[in-house]
Amino acid sequence: MVAVLEKNEMLAIAEKTVRLAVAKGASEVEAYVCEGQASNVGIELGQVNKTDQIIDRGVGVRVVIKKAIGFAYTNIVNDLNAFEDIVTRAISAAKASKSDSDWKGFAQKKQYVSGLTDLFDHEILEVGAGELVNMAHIMVDSAVQVDKSVLATEGSIGSVYWSNAIVNSNGVCGFDKGTAIECSLATLAKNGHKVTPVCFEFNASRKYKIDPAWVGKEAAKLSVSALKTKTIKTKTTTIILTQFALQDLLSYTLFNAVKADSVQRGQSPFKGKIGEKVVSDDLTIYDDGLYPGGLSTGLFDGEGSPHQKTLIIENGVLKNFLYDNYAAKKEGKDSTGNALRDGYLSTPSIGATNFHIVPGAFSNDNVIRQVDDGILVYYLQGAHSSNPVSGEFSVVATPVWEIKNGEIVSASRVVMLAGNIFEVLKNVSFVGNNERQVGGLISPWIVVNNVRVIGK
């Protein structure tokens, strides 16, 4: 990686932008500066044959004039003219916009936690292309050694560094940085004309600690086990949802239902249900922006509000929603630190940080052993076609593994699962203890009864 912008340089850009905007007549200003650097090597058809390096820096500025909000961004951060230009653009955008009578100002200054560890690793900055290439080879070799039918179709391994600085006219002033390294591999197994669906594994960590050999082996094992298949009959049955499937399903449904703006705008079935039982007793869910080593862990959110641990559902009872500053002020509350941003390119919007489903007591094997008749679901297709408001879904799961009397008996291709996620979450029968993070979700396996499975 090339030299990164230091804390004082990042904050200086933000402060300069805020000063310029105030001088040009903005009544309130917020500047958000981001840097991202990523190095990556790619695998295609079992070969390491491509590399990429991305350096992306930019600043986004929000200004308020007469309660109307304008935003502008640029990715040129070493030129005073560029700052002048975006401040002018943000102000002209605010003037073109409409006053918002609910606007109660940007976030107020608050203390950030100290002592967050395991989020930045200097070693990740130092990882060279040679090391990435070596790890990529280890991952591919581990996959193809599992069986000669295995093809490592696509994969990558890469390191990333990011930092952000936020300054606003209320005195908020924050800087944070982080690192991560990730490797992933997609494999399939091919035997004559028979091709399995793609199976996938990955490892991601904020510290320089990943296991490419494990990733290669696990992806390959799943693929090989999906070669021999039996058809599954249409039935209503028990399903085990792994983290991949849960992340896919929940991020298009449950994640929306707990956002305060969805609730305020009548788009959430949870509206007016605080204190009521909304899902199974077995589920306790936090949004935890401070989760140790979490992929979304950091000091503050996209408005400079401190990250926190927010209890959303406790033993099935709805406790709280996720707020940014705007939605919180509308209800006279404080932000829960859930204003998410797509770097410098976007204004903040409400989203989960690390969405944490608290684990239960059952290990992997025990989860399967508890199921008399059911299927194990890893990968879904079409979860993004779920109804984001009602929670209805109708998706394909492939491959799946059928379970009889506590054991996996065979794999199957293509079943369809249909239902309503909020009903599904009421029918949770128990929760595993095998917690891991996939995307924004940290969760164990979850076992659900009475799901409609459409087979042959």
């Binding site: 070969q47 992306d56 093809l151 009548g266 079409g382 309503n420």
Partner: protein
């Protein structure tokens, strides 16, 4: 600018051992806003300037992107890219080669009747607010509506070490409209997208009130829809669903990179995999369509590519790398979302050719089935499994459209399902959309209405 980029490329080939090098620069402006009910969440303007550099060293790709036009930075970036590519190439068994492409010098100018850059943001907000107004006034059961608006203007430059030098002006207008409705604990959701590489005049052909009404009407109608029973059944697909079906159930599999990764269309050239009625194109030349452009991001002219004719596979979609592997000409499908990422094989406007059935004729003879009019999402697996979600559907009873159904999707395997196309309509439409494959691409897809003699429908009743 061109001169500076040419210098960078020359350095890559002459000093750092690159066999091929290209630079792709962009200077783009975006105007955006989001409307939530009456509220303008924020009016936004963005500037995105940067350069993507790609080199081929000993048969491995090195790619680097940087948000700067400064000479020194570009020179050190290209040097890094060459070093990384060299490192990756060390154990390479099959070095990457590129199929030949013509050397092109061109400047593509945009000719819009209404260039969005010339329209004040205030006027855009006022105009688009009509969509929200229409939706909110449509029915009191409407709970929310969100409209995202984006337009982009500017230009890109592409130069490579073979002498191609193309400047293309860019312009598009895009909007996504969603609404939700609720009644007695039943929640519904409806969405549409509009996109055009013509100018702001797209809102003359698709007036805000009309769009708003269509979205609101669906959200309200779905309130009384019933859940459907899953299983195998005959279906009629509206052209909006056919577009996504073509895109998901065939298009992705015909992307040569996915075919090479063990996809089911590998080695199917010349094979009959669909019924005689199945003819698909991927076409980058449809005027104004959302997936149209003149040159792709490897400097190859966009074209109209015949993918499958009367059920027989005729071509895949290629970039220069896969064209070389298949020993064919590149088809102009290499696209990059922006300067931050490398070009990969993407669809443009993918559609099915119409035939001669009237809509009523498609329904005839279906005792019990479904008419799926509008989609919500879709996804493909390279083993040929596809899924298309439905946001608007109806029961068909004895050849007639009956009550609305909710929460449906269709799925199947491409190689089985294309054989089940047993009647194709004479109408034709292309819709605008976005496709995700790690990067987002703006695409068009469409076709006529069609009938599938059977497909698996997912339902929860």
């Amino acid at each position: 600018m061109q001169q500076a980029l040419l210098k960078v490329i020359e350095t890559a080939t002459q000093k750092h051992g690159a066999h091929y090098a290209e630079a792709r620069a962009q200077k783009l402006y975006k105007t955006m806003f989001t409307l939530k009910e009456e509220r303008v969440e924020a009016a936004k303007q963005g500037i995105e300037n940067g350069v993507a550099l790609r080199v081929l060293v000993n048969g491995a790709w090195g790619f680097a992107s940087v948000g700067s036009f400064e000479n020194d930075i570009l020179l050190s970036t290209v040097s890094n890219a060459c070093t990384m590519a060299k490192t990756a190439s060390q154990q390479l068994k099959n070095p990457i080669k590129l199929a030949a492409a013509n050397t092109i010098t061109d400047h593509v100018e945009v000719k819009a009747k209404k260039n969005p850059a010339d329209i004040a943001m205030e006027d855009k907000i006022k105009n688009i607010s009509e969509i929200n107004k229409t939706i909110q006034q449509y029915d009191k059961r409407i709970k929310s509506c969100t409209v995202d608006y984006l337009d982009l203007t500017g230009s890109t430059i592409f130069v490579n070490s073979e002498g191609t030098n193309i400047q293309q002006d860019k312009m598009f207008v895009w909007s996504k409209i969603t609404a939700s409705a609720e009644s007695c604990g039943v929640f519904t959701f409806s969405r549409e997208e509009i996109g055009s590489t013509f100018g702001y005049e797209v809102f003359d052909t698709q007036p805000p009130q009309e769009i708003g009404e269509a979205v609101a009407k669906r959200a309200v109608a779905q309130l009384s829809a019933k859940t459907l029973k899953g299983g195998k059944t005959p279906v009629v697909l509206g052209s909006n669903v056919v577009g996504v079906f073509v895109h998901e159930a065939f298009g992705h599999l015909a992307e040569a990179d996915l075919a090479l990764s063990g996809g089911v269309l590998f080695n199917t050239l010349g094979e009959k995999i669909g019924s005689d009625l199945v003819t698909f194109y991927d076409d980058g030349t449809v005027p104004g369509a959302f997936g149209s452009f003149k040159y792709d991001d490897e400097g190859v002219p966009a074209q109209k590519t015949l993918l499958i004719k009367d059920g027989v596979v005729t071509s895949l979609m290629h970039n220069r790398e896969t064209a070389s592997k298949f020993n064919v000409n590149p088809t102009g499908n290499a696209r990059a979302e922006d300067f931050r990422v490398e070009p990969i094989i993407r669809m443009r406007n993918t559609y099915m050719a119409p035939r001669d059935y009237e809509f009523e004729e498609l329904l005839e003879g279906i005792k019990s089935g479904y008419f799926f009019k509008s989609f919500r999402g879709g996804q493909t697996n390279i083993d040929g499994t596809f899924q298309v979600g439905i946001q608007e559907g109806y029961e068909i009873v004895n050849g007639e459209i009956s009550v609305p159904v909710r929460n449906a999707s269709i799925s199947g395997n491409t190689l089985e399902t294309l054989l089940k196309v047993d009647a194709v309509g004479k109408n034709f439409a292309i819709d605008s959309g976005r496709c995700g494959k790690g990067q987002t691409a703006f695409i068009g897809d469409g076709g006529p209405h069609i009938r599938l003699s059977e497909v698996v429908v997912g339902g929860s009743a």
